[in-house]
Every structure is written in C-alpha cells, then in structure tokens.
C-alpha cells in the first residue's frame, strides 16, 4: 500500500507538475472547440442552450482522447512499465492508482473550468448542476475505459488514431445518458435515473477495469 502511494501516486503527481504543458494542451483544445460552436452555429441564446450540454460532453470526450495515451505511453517506451511489473506490487492496483492520478490531473481542472463553459453556452443553473454531476460521475469512466484501450495499443507505434477509433463507440452510451440528464434538468424533470445508470457503469468499470488494464499491459509486454 505504501509502495503504491510513495512509488506510483507521488511519482505520477510529480511528473504531472513537471509536464504541465502536456496537461494544459488538451484543456485549451477543449476550450477552443467549445468556442467554435457559437461562432459556427450562431450565437442565438436558445440554440446554444439546446446544444450546450452535448457540445461540452463531446469536447470533453475528444480532448480526453488527446491526453489518454499519457497514462502508459512513456512508461512503456522508457521501460518503467517492466520495472512496475517486476516490483511485486499487483499490476491491477498500479493501474488503478495511475488511472486515479490521470483523472485528478486531467479532468479535475475541467470540472473547475465548467462554470465558465456553462456561461459560454447559456446554460441555466439547473442544467449546470446536472452537467457537473454527470461530469463527476462520467469522467472517471472515461479514464478507466480509456486506460484499457491504451494498455492494448501502447506497444503500437502511432496508436493514437486507433485509440480514438476504439474508444469513441464505447463512449456513446455515456454521452447519451449524460446529455439526456442535462436535457431533463433543462425541462425541470428529475434526472436521477440517468445519473444512476452512469453511476452503475462507473461502479462496474471501477471493479473490472483495473484487472482488464493489467491484462492488457501484460499482453503488450509479450
């Protein structure tokens, strides 16, 4: 347990602070994609309110794909991954900690930014609360599922586009339920059901993904 905290958690946090620009870029990308929509579609407040939740979620998924590879890419190429696997720490636990750090450094800033985005797209307070809840429940799911795909593709050179092709279809259910929750909020309807489904998907991913990631990494080492 101590090894996981001292050896993996602290390491990845230190690395994230050392490579701040790599973290800031996907966030800037997200911000820019979102600003493109009012420019392209027209700044009508009702139009923006209608498309807002979908735009934020799609931009979040696309920008997450840019940062996703970071989880294991460097570790694979510089050999740190081999050393993790021989460390005696369970690989699934290592994967879990790395996903946690990835979520903290790439999606938590997004949550901090989101009030600004909500203003941009003319979301009501109800919609913003719903959006925030779906982001909090949904983005860890992006990290967990994304890490499985990264584990599988990390050994391939230029796996970036393949990663996107693998992951985008998998994220469709999340997108549907998340935007539907925000739409319900816009109409003052309850949206607990959608949140519950996203939460269920998250719990399932939390239980299964670390083992799937560990297996994928082992396959990539072979």
């Amino acid at each position: 347990m101590n090894g996981l905290y001292q050896g993996i958690f602290k390491r990845d946090i230190a690395l994230a602070f050392r490579q701040r620009s790599e973290l800031a870029q996907p966030l800037m990308f997200l911000l820019m994609v979102i600003t493109l929509f009012p420019l392209g579609i027209g700044p009508g407040p009702m139009t923006l309110q209608k498309i807002g939740p979908g735009v934020i979620w799609i931009a979040a998924i696309l920008s997450s794909l840019l940062a996703m590879e970071r989880i294991f890419r460097d570790d694979f190429w510089d050999g740190s991954l081999e050393q993790y696997m021989l460390s005696g720490l369970p690989v699934s636990a290592i994967a879990g900690v790395k996903v946690l750090v990835h979520w903290l450094v790439s999606f938590l800033p997004l949550a901090l930014f989101s009030p600004l985005l909500a203003l941009f797209l003319n979301l009501t307070v109800d919609m913003y609360v719903a959006l925030m809840l779906t982001l909090v429940l949904g983005t860890p799911l992006l990290s967990l599922v994304g890490a499985i795909a990264v584990g599988l593709t990390v050994g391939l050179q230029r796996g970036g586009v393949l990663l996107a092709l693998l992951l985008i279809p998998v994220f469709i259910p999340l997108l549907i339920f998340a935007t539907s929750a925000v739409d319900s909020a816009a109409l003052q309807l309850p949206y607990r059901a959608q949140l519950a489904i996203i939460g269920a998907m998250l719990l399932l991913a939390m239980a299964a993904a670390p083992f799937a990631i560990a297996y994928a990494l082992k396959v990539s080492q072979n």
């Binding site: 390491r11 740190s80 081999e82």
Partner: protein
Amino acid sequence: MAGLAADNLTCIKRDRVLFTDLSFALLPGRLIYLRGPNGAGKTSLLRILTGLSAPDAGELSLDGQPLERQRDTFNQQLIYVGHKAGLNGALTAMENLRFWCAQHGAEFVPADTYRVLALLGLVGLEEVPVRMLSAGQQRRVALSRLWLKKATYWILDEPFTALDTDGIALLEKHMRQHVAQNGAIITTSHQPLSDLAGPMEELVLEYRL
C-alpha cells in the same frame, strides 16, 4: 533444488523457433554468461526468466517449486536491468531511484543513494533530469539499482552497453562481489566478460533458421 531452474523452455517468435528444450539452472553463487548472435533469442530468454513474457512450452521453478506460485517471493529477490533503462527522462536520478525503491519495497536512504551515485561517477548530476544525461550516464543510473536493492537474482540484458571501460570494470567487480556473497547472475554481453567478473558458466544460444 535451490535456485532458478528452467526446464525444457521453448520460445517461438513470428513462426521462427528461437530455442527449444532449453534446460539450465541459475544457482546462488554462480554467474551465467549468456552468449549468442543477434536474433538468437537472448533477450527473449531473459524476459521469460523474469516472467515478463511466457514461454511457448516448458516451465520455470524456484527452489524446486513452480515459479508461478511464488511470483512475489521471486520479484523481491530479483533485479532486472533490460535494454530500456526504466528511467523517466523528466525526473532526476534521485527521484527515479526513490520511486523505484518505493515500488520495489527497498529502503531508500538518500545518503546511501548519493554515495552509490558518486561511486558510479555521477557527482553533481543527481538532481539533473535524466534526459539531460549522456547515454552512458543514464545507463549508470539504471545500474545503480544493483547497489540499492538487496536481491539474490540479477538478470542483466546487455548491461555494458554505452558504458566506458571504467564503468565496465566497476560493474564487473560488483558482479564478482555479488556472486561471492551467494548471489546469482545471468547476463548477456556482446563483448566478452573480463577476468574481473570472476568465474562463470557459459550458455550459448545458436541462431536457428
């Protein structure tokens, strides 16, 4: 039987048989020098020994028991230095080693680590991001693990790559010391080991078509 034993290992890569029915034992107090031309399967064999990849046939055992069941015990007693250094370029040598020690359950004493790095000729470079170091210096940082963790089994894949003659002599002396203290080493190298490394057994892999 004590030690790490390989029983009838077979490795097949891309429809090419690298080796079949390879049996040998790595015993405490022994140094095995693994030789063979490029593509003979030296790295594949070493990776199978560490457990990073699985053999296509055959079994490994540790102290007479199947290795699969005592992976954790083995990992505690193993240091593997592969082709890839396992160092993150953005972190300094000290940070890399601190995190590595924490992962591997080895005690990290900063004073000792400074001493080891000084012994390896890295004075003043301890707090420099590893990517700024030369290839030989990076290799030295990777090899400093052999001083920092107490482990019986050392599996070294081309440890001398990029090292200068002083570095090679230093490492060979350390290997000899380890074997004298009942350690077990299997190493590959394209340049022959000198007498400094002490007595050794040779294991030769042929290139097979």
